[in-house]
């Protein structure tokens, strides 16, 4: 076997131009497939990352009515939905796949928040002590809430940078007072995301898909929520999962625990109020499927080029068998059995196409990088697809080398020796 491979390499090297031309079909086919697969994988990972963020793995479980998040701004507090009890909170934190969990109140768009005459149009959060860690924020300026502020109904507020920009031009926001529903709150700090994540935006569609909330965030202690909003509204849960893949299961478990105490009177599915996790992975999956279907077609087209390449290999192998008729005859005269001649030519075809496959993989990787530069599409090269490509091209060699090899093995030694 090793001897056969060595001889094949020798043969291939002694006909460099011919070998390259023979491999061309395989090279192009494999290169195209690697480039396409890398682009698909890159795009998929990009979609997933855009939706999930960079490795924070936090699952948001919110109150939904029917298919939409429940809006406290326009609706009154729903019947039968209590504040999440201490024991439920405890049970959620104890879940195996949960690293930490935070319970918060939220309005995605709040009115009646002013700094001087400037109105704020972002989101308002009423948070507990675990929130900043779980959501991945750190204090950039000023300070965080103290333990006392968290439980003592203090009128303090923390802003993120977007909120600061929308309200302040040049003055120092720390210590300034803003007006929330007529109550003065003092700004104590400014937070930023620990691991700032910018979704990759390639189109307007991407913008609407990924840039959900860019009008800024304000945080007040959860206990102070009734000061501004009169009631202890039901809370959402932000749970940090141990890894990205366990996010859907964490979301489901948390939602189940929280729904246990919900007694919604509406059985109509459009009006039913219950906690749901945002199924980011599911969302990613459906977006990925959309992009994958077009690319599957491209892979089929590239496979045709592999088929053509295979036929090219068969053609050249047939020529090579004819050319080497004398050699085959001599080898048979010297006692080489059919099996050995067959093995020699099959090995040669397989080595030839494997080399073509490897060159194709290299060119494909280069092509993928080029695409990512030019079209600013993310690419991810998967080692699995590389291995499959090389094995597949080897198989192409064996399949299409079979007919020429059988022809060689069945040559009659005297005819072969006499061949000029």
């Amino acid at each position: 076997m090793l001897e056969n491979i060595r001889l094949s390499l020798q043969g291939i090297l002694s006909h460099k131009v011919r070998s390259i031309l023979t491999m061309l079909g395989i090279i192009i086919g494999i290169a195209a497939i690697i480039a396409i697969v890398s682009t698909i994988k890159g795009t998929n990972e990009q979609i997933k990352n855009n939706l999930i963020g960079s490795g924070n793995n936090a699952v948001d479980v919110q109150l939904y009515q029917g298919e939409y998040p429940y809006e406290f701004d326009y609706q009154s507090i729903p019947d039968g939905v209590p504040v999440v009890s201490d024991s439920t909170q405890e049970a959620i934190v104890q879940l195996d796949q949960v690293v930490s969990a935070s319970f918060y109140r939220m309005r995605s768009y709040c009115e009646n928040v002013y700094y001087g005459n400037t109105a704020y149009g972002g989101a308002m959060y009423g948070i507990d002590e675990a929130y900043f860690d779980t959501a991945g924020y750190q204090i950039q300026q000023g300070r965080g809430f103290t333990a006392k502020e968290y439980c003592d109904n203090r009128k303090v507020v923390i802003l993120d940078n977007t909120a600061v920009k929308s309200l302040f031009s040049s003055e120092d926001p720390i210590g300034a007072t803003i007006d929330i529903n007529g109550e003065p709150f003092t700004i104590v700090g400014i937070v930023v995301e620990t691991d700032p994540f910018e979704p990759v935006i390639n189109s307007e569609e991407d913008y609407w898909t990924y840039m959900g909330n860019s009008a800024g965030r304000m945080f007040i202690p959860g206990q102070s929520w009734p000061i501004a909003y009169q009631f202890d509204e039901p809370e959402n849960c932000l749970a940090k999962a141990v890894d990205t893949d366990s996010m859907p299961s964490v979301g489901k478990q948390v939602a189940d625990l929280m729904n246990a105490s919900v007694m919604s009177s509406d059985t109509d599915s459009d009006l039913q109020i219950q906690y749901q996790s945002q199924d980011l992975l599911g969302q990613a999956k459906s977006l990925q499927d959309l992009s994958a279907s077009t690319n599957t077609m491209l892979i089929w087209i590239a496979s045709i080029s592999l088929l053509v390449g295979g036929i090219g290999v068969m053609n050249i192998m047939l020529v090579s068998v004819t050319e080497r008729t004398r050699e085959i005859g001599l080898k048979k005269a010297l006692g080489a059995k059919k099996k050995r001649i067959l093995g020699q030519f099959l090995t040669e075809a397989a080595v030839l196409t494997s080399i073509g496959g490897i060159i194709g993989v290299l060119i494909g990787i280069g092509l993928a990088q080029l695409i990512s530069r030019i079209a600013s599409v993310a690419v991810a090269i998967s080692s699995v697809s590389i291995v499959i490509s090389v094995v597949f091209s080897m198989a192409v060699g064996i399949i299409f080398g079979l007919i020429p090899s059988i022809k060689a093995a069945n040559l009659n030694p005297i005819d072969a020796l006499r061949y000029e």
Binding site: S14, K331, L334, K337, L417
Partner: protein, 236 residues
């Protein structure tokens, strides 16, 4: 005895017509003999040679090699016998041009399933014997005709076969190289190797100890150049 041909006929099909090439050949070759088969081109001597060398099969008749009936052997068995018991030397050497002298010579051992280390050792040994030990890493294209033929003889003898079949071994060589090849044959024969050689040159045939002539597919006469007279049957 090594070879026993009894009533061998061979014909080829040309279209639907069978063209007879060999007629009722009777020939025995004893262990240790040195036989030359002479004949003009087209006389059927190469066909006879191919049958003796197990490269071709007779249309009818009996062929025993080493006491074994050959027409019953499978393709694989014939390959093994060729590999183990017969060495071939051709007019045009038939060396593989891209492989070194050493690799060419060790080829039959590869097919015989000999380990690489032993293969190279034995090939080197036999190349020393034919006087080419300093050429082992050369490619055949870098050698003269005489040297090529000596490589081919080394290849034929590397697995120590009992029979050496030579088809016009000096046909492509000048007189001096031809003589060297003949000296080598002489030496091998003295060591006990049976040699059957095809030639159309009388001077070359004279090196053999017995000469038979073939004409139009019939063995015509037995001539002896050696010392031991042998019964030769001429069938017609």
């Amino acid at each position: 005895m090594v070879i026993e041909l009894h009533d061998i006929c061979k014909s080829y099909l040309q279209g639907k017509e069978p063209i007879p090439v060999l007629h009722h050949i009777e020939l025995t070759v004893e262990e240790g003999e040195y036989l030359a088969i002479m004949g003009p081109s087209g006389s059927g001597k190469s066909t006879l040679m191919n049958i003796i060398g197990l490269l071709d099969q007779q249309t009818s008749g009996l062929y025993r090699f080493d006491g074994q009936e050959m027409s019953k052997c499978s393709d694989n068995q014939l390959s093994s016998i060729r590999n183990q018991k017969i060495g071939f030397v051709f007019q045009n050497f038939n060396l593989l041009p891209r492989q070194s002298v050493l690799e060419n010579v060790s080829l039959p051992l590869l097919y015989g399933g000999v380990r690489k280390k032993e293969r190279l050792e034995r090939a080197r040994e036999i190349l020393t014997k034919v006087g080419l030990e300093d050429r082992i890493s050369f490619k055949p294209t870098q050698l003269s005709g005489g040297q090529k033929q000596r490589v081919a003889i080394a290849r034929a003898m590397v697995s120590h076969p009992r029979l050496l079949l030579a088809d016009e071994p000096t046909g492509a060589l000048d007189t001096r190289s031809g003589e060297q090849v003949m000296d080598l044959f002489q030496q091998l024969n003295q060591e006990g190797v049976t040699i059957v050689m095809i030639t159309h040159e009388k001077e070359i045939a004279q090196h053999a100890r017995r000469i038979v002539t073939i004409r139009d597919g019939r063995l015509e006469q037995g001539g002896f150049s050696g010392t031991e007279p042998e019964q030769e049957v001429d069938a017609s």
